[in-house]
Symmetry: C2
Subunit: 186 residues, 2 copies
Amino acid sequence: MRADARRNYERLVDAARKVFADQGGGASMEAIAKQAGVGVGTLYRHFPKRIDVVEAVYRDDVDQLVGLADHGLVELGPWAALEGWLQAYVAYGRAKRTFLNELHEAFEKNPDLKSASRERIFAACNRVLARAQEAGQARSDIDGEDLMQLVSPMCMNSTLTVDQGERLLAMVLDGLRPTVPQTVTP
Amino acid sequence: MRADARRNYERLVDAARKVFADQGGGASMEAIAKQAGVGVGTLYRHFPKRIDVVEAVYRDDVDQLVGLADHGLVELGPWAALEGWLQAYVAYGRAKRTFLNELHEAFEKNPDLKSASRERIFAACNRVLARAQEAGQARSDIDGEDLMQLVSPMCMNSTLTVDQGERLLAMVLDGLRPTVPQTVTP
């Protein structure tokens, strides 16, 4: 894709993400085109069907989430990378919930998309967790798959509020610290 | 219900619980009767339909889980009561998963059953958590509803293994301890 075509594509994806967040996955192509400041014809030229927009936003979300793990591993300390990635994961889950019905449709059309994305995200989680474990900054008795089994279903729960997600992640992060002898008597 | 009728009823429910755990929610009335050591006619006299057995097991599971909270509050220290109740909750979730399809049917027939059970379980969680918080043995920034929002979806996840559930609950319990300044540098 040429640089300007790439920029246009990204602008459409960003606009769609914002519209889905505001209006849910049922938002119209017209609303997305308006948000992007283009005619609806331009949007349809890039994405022949609404489900193609959903898939593009989802793919971009997964790319960003996986990229953030790699970025954190280079730029941040082991604990900060783990904490930052899990916060981003919770935000990713919240965004995904807004177009979950549409995403299920995209997964039906393209079953590999779901499993490949899941694998990439689990691997990213493993990388940031393993580094924190190697540095002695995270408990060693769980792995990234375990951690995802706890945090992912929480994020997919439609009744989870933003505040609740933050409170619970803070608790999970405290639980992720290396285990130390407890001073509290049972 | 007379005492001997009550005992018979409980024997059938216990037998059904075991058969569902071994064979899943699709287990036959014959298998349940056999496990209970009664003729299938006796089973049908108590439970005209298979879904009635599912509902009875579920009601009994909820009663036991709620009763365990009250028992712990009387018999155990605040932390032990919280820990024991959460372990029982994870086991309850695992059992529930074995007859989840059948349970959804029972909920459709009787929508109040789901909401009333949920309320009772959340209230039980609140009681054991609040007591541990009052004793300074659990973090004070979350409530029972928060905690259930984390643990309940985890338990309902069909890919959760027994070991994983135990590891993750241990981590959640560590996260539930009162927050203390961390010695680990980020």
